[in-house]
C-alpha cells in the first residue's frame, strides 16, 4: 500500500493532473470568501458587459478631490477613442477623392490624420460619385471632430428647488481623479453574462456545482457498476446471465438517449442539480459493470477465494475482503473517468436545454447554454463562453491525466 502510494506520487502525469484539480477545487472553496454574495445576483442591467474596471460616474463627478495632470497626448487619445474606425475610413475615402496620395494617409497616426483633415476638408466641395449616405457620414464626422477638439469645460448642473438648473461644478479637460478614492468601483475580470451577472463569480460557483454533479454521478455509477460487476462475475450462472443481458442492452442503447428521455420527462421545474447528477449516474454504470465482471471472473477461482469459501465466509465478506482489493486500483480509475464523463454529460444535456433549472444554481453547462442562446459567440462576447470551454477542458484534462498516470503505475507494461 505504502509502496503503491509512493509510486503514484512519483508519477508526474498523476501529480500534474492531481494538482490541477486540487487548484480548481480550492478556488471554488476560497473565492467566495473574498467575494461574498450570491453568484446569481443580476448586477448589470443589460447583456454581456466587457471585462474591465467599472467606476461609478456619479461618484467620479461628485468627488471633491481632483488632480490636475498635464499630459501632452491626452487630447489625441481622447479623439482617437471617440473616432471609430469606420469614421476614419470615411475620412480616408474623402481625402482620396480630394486627390491626396494614398501613402500620405496614415489611419494609425491620429494626429497626422487630423492635421491633414483640417488643412484639406472643405464642406462646400461635392464629389459626384459619392453617395449621399457617405457624404452625410463625412459631415457628421467633421462635426464630431470639431466638438472633440474644442477644449470646452463641462458644467455639472444641479437642479435647484424651483426646477431651474444651477451651475454646480466645472470639469476641465486635464482634471483627474484617483480610482482608489472613489467609493464605488467594481472590477469585473470577466465582464457579465447575458443576465448581467458577474461572470467570474458565477463561473467559479458553477465549477463547484459541476464538480459536485460529477462526483455524485460518478459515485452512483461506480457503486452500481461495482455491485453488479462483483455479483455477476463472482456468482456466475443465472445471475450472471441476467445482469449481463441488462448490461449489454444498455451498452447498445445509447445512454445519451436515455438521459434525454428521462430528463425531459422529469420536467424543467423538478430538475435540480442533484436530480440531474443522479440521472446521469443511473445511466452510466454500464462500463464499470463490464470491466469489473471481466476481472472478477478471472479472480473467482483463485486459491484464497476458494479457501475463504470453504471457511464458510459470507458472500459479502468474500467479495469485500478477498476480491475487492485486487480490483480496487481499477475501480478508482473507473471512478475518476466517471466523474469526468458525468461533468461532460451535464454540460451536453444543458446545451440541449435539459440541464438543471436556471434559477437555483449555475452549472458550467447552463452558463454555456445561455451564452449560446444569446449568441455570445456571434457578438464577440468571448468572455461569456471561452473561459467555460477552457475550464471544462481543464477539468477533463486533469482527470484524464490522473487516470493515465495511475494506469502507468498499475500496468507496468505501459510505463515509459
Amino acid at each position: 500500500m505504502k509502496n503503491t502510494l509512493r509510486q503514484i506520487t512519483q508519477s508526474p502525469k498523476f501529480m500534474i493532473g492531481f494538482c490541477l484539480i486540487l487548484v480548481l477545487i480550492l478556488t471554488t472553496l476560497i473565492y467566495p470568501l473574498f467575494s461574498p454574495g450570491s453568484p446569481l445576483e443580476m448586477i448589470g442591467l443589460g447583456t454581456f458587459f466587457r471585462p474591465g474596471t467599472y467606476v461609478s460616474v456619479y461618484d467620479s463627478v461628485t468627488t471633491d478631490k481632483r488632480y490636475t495632470i498635464n499630459l501632452t497626448d491626452a487630447a489625441e487619445k481622447r479623439v482617437a477613442s471617440k473616432l471609430a474606425s469606420e469614421d476614419k475610413e470615411v475620412m480616408k475615402t474623402w481625402l482620396l477623392e480630394f486627390g491626396i496620395a494614398e501613402e500620405e494617409i496614415d489611419l494609425e497616426d491620429t494626429e497626422a490624420l487630423l492635421d491633414l483633415w483640417f488643412n484639406t476638408y472643405d464642406e462646400s466641395i461635392r464629389f459626384d460619385n459619392m453617395t449621399t449616405a457617405v457624404r452625410k457620414h463625412v459631415q457628421r464626422t467633421d462635426a464630431k471632430l470639431d466638438g472633440l477638439l474644442e477644449h470646452q469645460d463641462i458644467i455639472v448642473a444641479d437642479s435647484a428647488a424651483d426646477g431651474s438648473l444651477v451651475e454646480g461644478s466645472l470639469i476641465k479637460g486635464n482634471e483627474y481623479i484617483n480610482v482608489a478614492e472613489i467609493a464605488n468601483v467594481r472590477v469585473l475580470p470577466l465582464g457579465t453574462d447575458n443576465f448581467g451577472r458577474d461572470m467570474l463569480k458565477e463561473m467559479i460557483s458553477a465549477l463547484g456545482v459541476s464538480l459536485m454533479i460529477g462526483l455524485i454521478a460518478g459515485a452512483i455509477a461506480t457503486f452500481i457498476g461495482l455491485a453488479l460487476g462483483l455479483l455477476s462475475g463472482y456468482l456466475g450462472g443465472v445471475v450472471d446471465d441476467i445482469i449481463m443481458f441488462v448490461t449489454n442492452l444498455f451498452t447498445v442503447i445509447p445512454s445519451f438517449v436515455l438521459l434525454i428521455l428521462i430528463s425531459f420527462s422529469i420536467g424543467q421545474s423538478d430538475r435540480g442539480a442533484t436530480t440531474v447528477a443522479i440521472v446521469i449516474g443511473l445511466t452510466s454504470w454500464v462500463w464499470t459493470t463490464r470491466s469489473v465482471r471481466a476481472q472478477v471472473t478471472s479472480l473467482r477461482n483463485r486459491d484464497h477465494v476458494n479457501l475463504s469459501k470453504l471457511s464458510g465466509h459470507s458472500l459479502i465478506r468474500i467479495l469485500v475482503t478477498d476480491i475487492l482489493p485486487y480490483i480496487a486500483s481499477y475501480v478508482i480509475m473507473a471512478f475518476i473517468l466517471q466523474i469526468c464523463s458525468g461533468i461532460l454529460a451535464e454540460a451536453q444535456l444543458s446545451m440541449l436545454g435539459l440541464g438543471p433549472k436556471t434559477t437555483s444554481v449555475p452549472t458550467l453547462g447552463l452558463m454555456m447554454f445561455w451564452a449560446m442562446a444569446y449568441t455570445a459567440h456571434l457578438n464577440g462576447a468571448w468572455w461569456a463562453y471561452f473561459p467555460l470551454v477552457i475550464l471544462i477542458a481543464c477539468i477533463s484534462f486533469s482527470l484524464n491525466l490522473m487516470n493515465t498516470g495511475l494506469d502507468q503505475v498499475f500496468n507496468p507494461q505501459l510505463r515509459d
Binding site: 445509447p254 454540460a347 477542458a393 493515465t404
Partner: protein, 334 residues
C-alpha cells in the same frame, strides 16, 4: 459458411431483442414519470382561455387523440402498430406536420455529417496512436498530452472555438446552417457548393474529437502488443520490423473495432450537440427545437431514430468484426 450463418444469426437475434427493449423503453420511460403530459400540453394551449369547460374539452380531445385515456397495454400496441407503419405522431410545434416527415429531412443531414466524420476520425486516430506506440520518444511525448487535451474537450467546445475562429473572425466559413439561407434544397450546383461550404467546419469539429479519443486507446493497445512475447520472439527470429509492425497493428486493431462499436453511441451524442452549435439541420437541432417547444412526439421520435442508428452501426461493426477476427474465422472453417 455454416459457422458464419450461426454467428450472424445469433448477432441478428440479439440486436432484435435489443431493439424491442429500446422501443419498450422509449414508450415506457416518459409514461413512468409523474405528471400528466397531456395536461401539460393542454395547459399550454388553453393558457389564454377563461372558460373551464373549453379547456376540459381540449383536454378530452387530446387525450382521445393520443389515446392516454386507454389502458397502458392498449396504448403500447397502438404505438407499435403506428410505429410499424412509420407513423410517429404529429408534431406539436409544427402542427399538423407528421414527426416522421420532419425526421426524414433531418436524419439525412446527421448521417451524412457524422458517418464520414466518425470514420475519418477513427482511422486517423488509430494510425496516429499506432505511430505513437511504435516511435515513442518525442512524437509520443507530444501526441499523448495533446490527445488527452483534445479528447477531454467537449465536442461543443471545439465546435464553438472552430466556429469563432474560422467563421466569425477569419470569415472563411459560414457560421450557421447546413446550406445558405436563400436556397431551396435541390440538386443544383449552387446548392451542392453551398452544402459543401457549410459542411467542413462541423465535420472537422467531430473528426478532431474522435482522433483524440481513438489515438489514446490505440496507443495503449499497441504498446501492450509491442511488449508481448510473440513480438520479442519475432525479433529474435530476425523478422523485419515492418512485418512485425503489421502483425501488431492487426492485433491491436481488433479491440479498437469493438471499442468503436461500444463508443459509437457516446460519439453520436456528443456530435449531436456540436450540430446544435452550428445550427446544422440535423437531428441535434431537431431535438433542441423539440425540447424548447415541449414537443413530445418529436423528442421521442428523434431518440428512437438515434437508437436505431446506433443499433444499426453496432450491428454492422459486429458483422465486419466477424469477418476480420481470426477466432470467428476459425470457427467458420471447422
Amino acid at each position: 459458411m455454416k459457422g458464419y450463418k450461426k454467428y450472424f444469426g445469433k448477432k441478428a437475434l440479439w440486436f432484435f431483442i435489443t431493439l424491442v427493449c429500446a422501443v419498450i423503453l422509449n414508450f415506457i420511460l416518459p409514461r413512468l414519470m409523474p405528471g400528466d403530459p397531456v395536461a401539460a400540453i393542454t395547459a399550454r394551449i388553453a393558457g389564454g382561455m377563461t372558460s373551464a369547460t373549453a379547456a376540459q374539452q381540449i383536454y378530452q380531445e387530446y387525450a382521445e387523440k393520443f389515446g392516454t385515456n386507454q389502458p397502458m397495454i392498449v396504448q403500447f400496441f397502438t404505438y407499435i402498430k403506428n410505429l410499424l407503419r412509420g407513423d410517429l405522431g404529429l408534431s406539436f410545434t409544427q402542427y399538423p406536420r407528421p414527426v416522421s416527415d420532419i425526421l426524414k429531412s433531418s436524419v439525412i443531414w446527421t448521417v451524412c455529417l457524422q458517418l464520414p466524420a466518425i470514420l475519418t476520425g477513427w482511422i486517423i486516430g488509430n494510425v496516429l496512436g499506432a505511430l505513437a506506440a511504435y516511435i515513442r520518444k518525442g512524437f509520443d511525448k507530444v501526441l499523448l498530452p495533446l490527445s488527452l487535451l483534445i479528447s477531454g474537450l467537449p465536442a461543443f467546445g471545439l465546435a464553438i472555438i472552430l466556429l469563432v475562429v474560422f467563421g466569425v473572425n477569419l470569415k472563411i466559413a459560414p457560421i450557421s446552417g447546413g446550406y445558405a439561407q436563400n436556397l431551396i434544397p435541390s440538386f443544383t450546383p449552387t446548392f451542392i457548393k453551398s452544402v459543401i461550404g457549410h459542411y467542413w467546419l462541423p465535420f472537422f469539429s467531430i473528426v478532431i474529437i474522435a482522433i483524440g479519443g481513438q489515438a489514446i486507446g490505440m496507443r495503449s493497445m499497441s504498446i501492450y502488443e509491442l511488449n508481448s512475447d510473440y513480438v520479442k520472439y519475432s525479433r529474435f527470429l530476425g523478422i523485419k520490423d515492418r512485418k512485425i509492425v503489421g502483425y501488431v497493428f492487426r492485433n491491436a486493431m481488433l479491440p479498437q473495432i469493438t471499442g468503436l462499436a461500444l463508443s459509437i453511441g457516446t460519439m453520436i451524442g456528443g456530435a449531436l450537440v456540436a450540430e446544435v452549435i452550428f445550427n446544422y439541420p440535423g437531428l441535434g437541432s431537431t431535438i433542441l427545437r423539440g425540447i424548447t417547444g415541449s414537443d413530445y412526439p418529436m423528442i421521442s421520435g428523434s431518440t428512437l431514430i438515434i437508437t436505431l442508428m446506433v443499433l444499426a452501426a453496432s450491428f454492422i461493426i459486429d458483422i465486419v468484426y466477424g469477418f476480420i477476427d481470426p477466432r470467428v474465422k476459425a470457427a467458420q472453417i471447422e
